[in-house]
Amino acid sequence: MELLIFITLMASGYFVGSWAERNHYRSIVKREEETLFLPTTTAKHPMGVLPPVRESRLVSGSVVISVDYFKRVLAGLRTLFGGRVSSYETLVDRARREAVLRMKEQCLGASQLINVRIETSSISKGAKEQIGSVEVLAYGTAIYCQAE
């Protein structure tokens, strides 16, 4: 009976999880192309020569994403042998890109987005139940220039 539950969880985690991940990646790539016109930098000062600044604003975006059951079991096995835990690599990659996108989507009219910082932590880390979920917070300063 327990084995049956385990297999069901594994199967649903595998199918639904990989389907959701593919969809998410597709949406991320599409939206990254759409927001490509907004220059984003981690530098403290705007890059290049810009007209006088009219306004600057703090913008941020955050997301919490969890890994599916199948990948969690796989990662558990991986810790026995060591090596790349690729199931968690895609998790943090998706979370960071999503957070940056959400931040950019808040200031689509800006001239440049400077001093971007990305903060990662796991919010629901129980002692007995290891929930593989990460939260990512991206923040930066959007600067709006005067029209030339």
Partner: protein
Amino acid sequence: MFMTNTEEVPGKIIRVCKGVVSGSTVRAKHAGRDLMASVKNIFGGELAGYTELLSESRDEAIGRMQEQARQMGANAVVNVRFSTSSVAAGAAEIYVYGTAVVVE
């Protein structure tokens, strides 16, 4: 109130530095949300309840920091930094701090 995470407010000049201001908040979601999150943990994907929780607490923390800056007579907060930590399972702490300044 201007808020940036750079050392100055682009296009403005900093006149007076008022000191460090900060705001923090610890929040938890109700059990129903936690249950939903556990279900979501089987299938993977975004935990919308927790995302909402985080952005709510971030706004709250920023509000408290701005209030403190206003009391000091500042009109801008520069060099804002965020820091997050988990106090207990299902509860999130957001701490935000920066430097209150007067710009013109």
